[in-house]
């Protein structure tokens, strides 16, 4: 008799997930959020999706990418161009095509995927910066340093909230499925020891390509939604190194490799940024740096690591901690 694998996700988790998404969907109607809050939550949804998608590569496979802005930019500009055509493509289709384009673009990084650890990270810095320069130079497509404006009406922007939420729901579900499936175990094997994984028949190259492309698709879609959100995009911002860093920071602040981590990290990141940019714009870079240093030195799992510790302290038992740790 073959052993039965454990259930992918427990029924209680599915219910909790559905309730959370439902509550968030009703939130603007029920509470009559101010436009400011409404937009801030929308932006948070986008960042959560991006951070989770980065985490597939950085957390599950253990390949820290400093170049995800390239896919973000490609997705954003492809979607923007499609929506600026004479007969505009409907927004959702444009976002999807932008995402797919970003996924294909990500596959261009295939040769770097056999690099490990710091070599991969540094190569992604090079790829990201090269993309930024090339796309800024390609004025016909990106408008150069002056950027492009999208035809977005207030109604579409208002509805971005639910599109963003749908994306989050999809990406969270995908994160669980990837993590708990055989694929997740194979990725874990690649993360632990790529050679040993190869010895037991895990096709490391294929799975890394797959995850990097998937991550690229999601980040690309996020880029498209982001372009619609701001209705003006500029290549030096979309492809900028600071944007690549943002993905890394969100995941690291929350907890690399977990699912709740990047969600939490993205929320903290957006709020912190909003607060700091308003009151201490000259400090926010250094504060992120300090946060990074403290997290690596004292709590490599970030905020989720901190949460596990507190849970354990209050006697919720090792089971909860262990359960959370694999989530």
């Amino acid at each position: 008799m073959t052993p039965r694998p454990p259930r992918l996700v427990g029924p209680r988790a599915v219910v909790a997930f559905a309730v959370a998404i439902g509550a968030l969907a009703l939130l603007p109607v029920a509470l009559e959020l101010s436009p400011y809050t409404h937009n801030l939550v929308t932006l948070t949804f986008l960042m959560v999706s991006g951070a989770l998608a980065w985490n597939w590569m950085g957390g599950y496979v253990g390949q820290v990418s400093f170049g995800h802005a390239a896919m973000f930019g490609v997705g954003g500009f492809v979607a923007a161009r499609l929506m600026m055509l004479e007969s505009p493509v409907p927004a959702p289709l444009a976002w999807l095509v932008g995402g797919l384009a970003a996924g294909v673009f990500a596959l261009g990084a295939h040769p770097t995927l056999r690099l490990r650890g710091p070599y991969f990270s540094i190569a992604t810095i090079g790829l990201g910066e090269a993309s930024r320069l090339v796309f800024t130079y390609w004025e016909g497509f990106t408008g150069g340093s002056s950027g492009v404006s999208l035809p977005i009406d207030a109604d579409t922007k208002f509805r971005l909230y639910w599109w963003g939420l749908a994306l989050v729901a999809l990406v969270v579900a995908a994160s669980f499925v990837i993590r708990r499936s055989t694929l997740g175990l194979q990725l874990l094997a690649i993360k632990s020891d790529v050679d040993a994984a190869g010895d037991v028949g895990v096709n490391a190259t294929l799975y890394q390509d797959l995850i990097f492309a998937l991550s690229g698709v999601v980040v690309g879609i996020t880029g498209g939604l982001y372009a619609s959100y701001f209705s003006f995009i500029e290549p030096n911002d979309m492809f900028g190194f600071d944007r690549s860093i943002a993905f890394v920071l969100m995941a690291v602040i929350g907890g690399v490799g977990t699912i709740f981590g990047p969600i939490l990290g993205a929320i903290v990141f957006v709020l912190l940024r909003q607060f700091l940019l308003a009151s201490y714009p000259q400090l926010y870079l250094g504060l992120y740096g300090l946060l990074l240093i403290l997290i690596i030195l004292f709590e490599p799992l970030g905020l989720s690591g901190l949460a596990f510790r507190i849970l354990r302290r209050f006697g919720r038992g090792r089971k909860a901690a262990a359960k959370a740790a694999i989530a």
Binding site: P111, G126, V256, L291, I293
Partner: protein, 291 residues
């Protein structure tokens, strides 16, 4: 033809600077197996140190070199004792060290913004604009001086590593840290000093760059990547390899002007970085242990 000579001369002069930048990164990686992402930040700090000494104390940038080297050495020592030392061993070369040192870089950048604002600065001396005729073209005095220092530095470094007890200890630790503890070498101390020397070399590269280029707090990211290209291409610990690699990078960058729009020449280094990592990860001359 005159154009060709011009470009060649500027490539050679640039290569000296690139090599100087790369030694520090290569030394730290060779001994500690840590990619010092704060390297660019130290280069930036070195540039600002030289600038401050020149603006406030009227010190010539070349005379300020010993001071800058001493300060950045201490910065490296403090960084190692305070932060890098606490990284989990084994994982030291992994994401943890990258992220930690990246955090240090962000802090350094922010500190520079607070202290010096984001404006572009240059060190301007009375000989900044002076040039000497060479092979039918003119070469700035500054660039020649930088090249001179860039030639002397590896000779001194080589002497330190090959002929002194400290240098032998550093090379021994690079080869096998565990055996070193058996023969009574204080590995922690060697790591500390190596990190200091690596940072001092970055600081030196910073002052030298500051005499030629303008800089701001974001200065150093391109320099970090170029250093990395040179280290990977040149192979670890080979001083000659580092020089050749720096020359290759400089020639590629300078001659790209002939075929690429000037805006895109900055991408040459990045593209080379990726190509080198993918096709020659062991360097041109094969990977060698330090020394």
């Amino acid at each position: 033809m005159a154009r060709f000579v011009d470009l060649t001369v500027s490539a050679v002069l640039l290569a000296g600077l690139y090599a100087t930048m790369a030694y520090g990164l290569g030394l730290i990686y060779g001994v500690l197996r840590v990619v010092n992402l704060a390297h660019g930040g130290i280069i930036m700090a070195g540039a600002y140190l030289g600038w401050t000494l020149h603006e406030r104390a009227g010190l010539d940038p070349y005379l300020s070199i010993p001071l800058v080297v001493a300060v950045t050495f201490m910065t490296g020592v403090v960084m190692y004792r305070l932060l890098v030392r606490h990284l989990p061993r084994g994982a030291a070369g992994g994401p943890a060290s990258l992220l930690l040192l990246f955090g240090v870089w962000l802090v350094l950048r922010n500190a520079a913004y607070l202290l010096f604002t984001g404006n572009d600065q240059t060190i301007r001396t009375e000989y900044s604009t002076r040039a000497l005729p060479l092979f039918g073209s003119y070469v700035s005095v500054n660039r020649l001086a930088v090249l001179g220092i860039a030639v002397v530095t590896p000779v001194l470094l080589q002497y330190l590593l090959k002929r002194t007890y400290l240098g032998r200890a550093i090379r021994a630790v690079a080869q096998n840290a565990d055996s070193c503890t058996l023969v009574g070498i204080d590995v922690g101390r060697i790591y500390t000093i190596t990190f200091g020397i690596g940072s001092a070399l970055a600081g030196l590269a910073g002052v030298l760059s500051a005499t030629i280029f303008s800089f701001n707090p974001a200065f150093g990211s391109g320099e970090l990547l170029k250093s990395f290209v040179v280290v990977v291409l040149g192979g670890l610990g080979s001083v000659l390899g580092t020089g050749v690699a720096a020359l290759i990078l400089a020639v590629a960058e300078v001659f790209a002007i002939l075929v690429l729009p000037s805006y895109l020449t900055a991408a040459v280094g990045f593209v080379m970085l990726v190509l080198v990592l993918v096709f020659r990860p062991g360097g041109l001359f094969g990977q060698r242990v330090l020394g």
